[in-house]
Every structure is written in structure tokens, then in C-alpha cells.
Symmetry: C2
């Protein structure tokens, strides 16, 4: 099976109401008097990182990509469980894990360590608590809202290619935890754009049953000569969100478009209707 087929199989399981139909970035669970936010993301050697990658960077990125999901819910991290298959340079992995957990103040909660053959696989379950309710989702964008993105897209692509000033964007991405918390009270919808701005935007517009009209000239890209790639490559852990255009934003973000009533495509990039998600980004469900 490919990932989309398998995901369809998972969606047919008995789902917790907090699973949000497995179409959101996190599970959102009412637990006691609070709201628990849970996410689990994995990385595998050969698929998500190269065999020669720094294992400290891999561990950092594994933490960051999970915290980015919490950020998209405006959640505050509580802790993390880590699953590790031992392999090359476990000491490096531990050092990067320690750095990331320390920098973001995420204490370790537990996990599992296994001896496995073949390429290494890692997983983290990030646990957070909601700081604002309702907890933002991909649904909720309304016609008339403005569409915003934090930061600059395409930096991870350039970092992957070795551009010195963008290496950190690829190797040591920074989850937008503070921004997510500040934006949660005013965002009508929010998600991170780890799979690429266009594909993730397509998903948010579809989930919200609206159309995003993006103004390409306003989108902050790392290399204007390679705009198409910057909008599609992904691995940028920025936040995409919609909000009332009359509200002041509490953090820096760039307005890149407007939300319109649902038209014949979820996204218009300038005058071009984008109807098929296949060519828009990194598709792994």
C-alpha cells in the first residue's frame, strides 16, 4: 500500500472524536478540566534523512517537527515520548535530542529503545496542553478572512542544497511555538506547512470549504527565481493561518492572500486555478 491507501484504512478504524477524523495535525482530547493535544511523527533513514546525516540534526528535527504540530494548535508542550531503533551514532542522536528538548523546555516522559536491523527509524509523541479554546484546526477559514504565513518559504530547500545561510532551516528548524500560542485566539484556521505552502494551503481551503486566492507577488520566498519550488518543496515549519483582516497580528506574518467563497478550485495562485494536489507538494498523506 502507499501512504494514502494506508491512511484511508486507518480512517476506517474506530476513531476517537478527538482524532478529528485523522485530517488534522494533532489529536485534541478533553481530559479532566483541560484539553490534551497529542501528535506522533516519525523519521526514517533513507526516506526522511540521508544515511550520512548528522544524527544530532536528525534528533533535533524530529523534536521540531512534532513541536511544530503542537504550535499549529497553539499548544504548550508538556513532554515527549521517544521511540528509537539503535544504529549509527546513537551518542549523536542523544546529544541532539537533549539540545532540542532543553531549548524548547520539553521534558522527556518515556519511550522505547529497540535493537533493529537495517535503516534506523525514530518516532516522537509530543504531548501538549491547549492554551486557547476552541483549538485551531484546518477548518474554519471564512470568506473575507485574510491568509497569512509566518517567515519565509523555501529556506529548507535551499538549506538541503547546501546554501550556508539556510542550512539551519533544513537541519535545525524552529517550531513556531510562541507564534502559535499568540495566534490561536485570533486564527480562524491554522496549520504548519511542512508539506509545502501550496499543498497544505490546498488542504486547509478544502477542509474549510473555501477558496484561497494567493497573490504570488506577496509570498515571501527564499529565492524569487525559484518561486514554484519554494512553494512546493516543503519542510518549512512555518504557520499558515487565516484571520479577520481588520485584526492586528501579535507576531510578524505576511499577508499572502484572501479567503473567498468556495469556487471551482481550492486555490488560485494569481489567476491560475490549482485543482489537483498531486503536483503541489510533498504528498505523504
Amino acid at each position: 500500500m502507499n501512504e494514502l491507501e494506508f491512511l484511508a484504512g486507518l480512517r476506517a478504524m474506530p476513531l476517537h472524536p478527538g482524532a478529528r477524523g485523522l485530517v488534522d495535525d494533532c489529536a485534541v482530547i478533553e481530559f479532566g478540566s483541560e484539553t490534551l493535544i497529542l501528535t506522533h511523527d516519525m523519521m526514517a533513514e533513507g526516506t526522511h534523512f540521508e544515511p550520512k546525516a548528522s544524527m544530532a540534526d536528525v534528533a533535533w528535527k524530529l523534536v521540531a517537527m512534532n513541536l511544530s504540530d503542537l504550535a499549529s494548535k497553539g499548544a504548550e508542550p508538556v513532554g515527549a515520548l521517544v521511540g528509537v531503533s539503535l544504529g549509527r551514532d546513537d551518542a549523536g542522536f542523544l546529544s541532539g535530542l537533549r539540545e532540542a528538548l532543553s531549548v524548547y523546555n520539553v521534558p522527556l516522559l518515556g519511550g522505547d529503545t529497540i535493537a533493529a536491523t537495517g535503516p534506523s527509524t525514530f518516532g516522537i509523541t509530543a504531548v501538549g496542553r491547549a492554551t486557547h479554546k476552541p483549538v485551531p484546526s484546518r477548518k474554519g477559514s471564512k470568506a473575507g478572512d485574510a491568509l497569512y504565513v509566518t517567515g519565509i518559504v523555501g529556506r529548507a530547500m535551499l538549506g538541503f542544497e547546501g546554501h550556508p545561510q539556510h542550512l539551519d532551516a533544513f537541519n535545525r528548524p524552529q517550531p513556531r511555538l510562541g507564534e502559535g500560542r499568540s495566534l490561536a485566539p485570533l486564527a480562524s484556521a491554522m496549520m504548519d506547512i511542512s508539506d509545502g505552502l501550496l499543498l497544505d494551503g490546498w488542504r486547509m481551503a478544502s477542509a474549510s470549504a473555501v477558496t484561497f486566492r494567493l497573490n504570488p507577488e506577496t509570498i515571501p520566498v527564499a529565492d524569487t527565481a525559484r518561486m514554484d519550488e519554494c512553494l512546493r518543496w516543503g519542510d518549512d515549519y512555518e504557520l499558515l493561518f487565516t484571520a479577520d483582516p481588520n485584526r492586528d497580528l501579535p507576531v510578524p506574518a505576511t499577508r499572502i492572500g484572501t479567503v473567498e467563497p468556495e469556487a471551482n478550485a481550492p486555490i488560485f495562485l494569481g489567476g491560475t486555478a490549482l485543482t489537483e494536489p498531486g503536483s503541489l507538494g510533498y504528498r505523504h498523506g
Copy 2:
């Protein structure tokens, strides 16, 4: 690194107080007005199951081993997140996952699916809520307590070897969720014995700073001619616990020994002092 060395590295990280020093089966977190119980266990092809194994059985066992950790805390399952690297017979995996989640009434909360090269790796994060406080741990056994085990040990070993009446004990273990909940109010210490009765008993006695004196004639083993192996092979998801010997037990369990003040070994099996854990069971930290 081997697993014990890596685990030592994890224990040196900033730990959440609920991580219980990474020496318990679950994290126990006060969250809102309730107590959250979290555990994460993995299985890898070639290490935890054979390449020709039924993937439906693998998925079942992955769920069961995580729920068994919740059972040892007397926890009620809330849901599960699943991490899957796609491979051979993903449909079989999905069918076993569905069966196990349905039988134990554990709704899916989320997870991640990745395309990976090489042997498959799977992980589950089980989420539960405590039904009794204090939540049982490996600490707490007191001199004068009685030592008990549920069920029969050694069945998984015989099932692994192909004995027809024990196949299910290996392929489709049943977590003792009901027993764990009933026992939590009276157990002074409790854990599951997935790594073998002697090794896990050694850990509980050590954590509690007591000595367990086991009466070998009373231990319920699946094959009395292979008692030593039955006590060491592991993969039995039974509960080991200590309690006041004067209390009636709410569920069937066998008294297999007595808790004594800490002596020169954590465990005496009959008259034999067991001081070194290396030969006592399946050691993976």
C-alpha cells in the same frame, strides 16, 4: 550503543516528574483534574517478529503489549496513536489493528505512516486515565506482603514453539486490563512480566528495596519440566503484584512468594539467591 547504554543516556535528559525516572512502565502525569497514563512500545521485523509472521498478529500484539503497560497501572484506555513504516502485507496489519482496537475498545487518536526501506518498524503510544490513585508502580512492595502473579507463565514460549494450545498466548496475548483495574486499589506494587517473571520480579524487588522469596512449587508454569525457561522466556503479559496477604483478591491470581526485608539478593528462588539479572530474562532495558 546497546539498549542499556542508550537508556542511561535518556535517563540523563531533563525528565518530566511523571516519567518516574524512566524506570516504570508508563508515564504518570497529573493533567487537569485527572491522571494521564502514557506508554510507547515498538516492534521491529527481525527483532520482535519474524519476517514470515502474520502481520495481523503483529498488529494485535503491538496493541496488546502497550495496553498491558496501561493494565499494570490500573489504567483505563483512552486511545492510541500508531506509527507505521509500510511494508509487506499492510492490509493484514490494518486488519489486526482494527481487531485489537475494537476488542479492547481503544479508539484511534492519530499517528504517522511512512514509506521506509528495509525491515518494518511499528510503534504505538497508548493513552489512558488512572482509575485509582496512587497509581501503582514498581516501588511499594513491603516486607510481609504476599507476591502474586495472574495466569500461567511460559505459555508464550510454548506458543512461539508451535504448541497448538499456546499459539494464542504468543500471537494474540491478552492484556490484563480488567485485572489491573481491580487490583490497583490493593496492590502495593504492580508491573507486567513481559521480560520474564524472574527478571521483572528482580526489577520490582530492587525498586522496592525488598527481597522476594519465591516458592518454585507454587509458580504456575505451562511446562513443569521446563520451569527455568518458563520463568525466564518472557512475552507473557501477566501481572505481577504484591499485596497484604490478608486481603481477598478481586480476581484470580496465584500466590508465588513472600516479600521480606532487603537481604543480599533481590530474589530467592527456593533457597537460591539470584543476584545477577543477566541470566534472568529478556534484557532490553
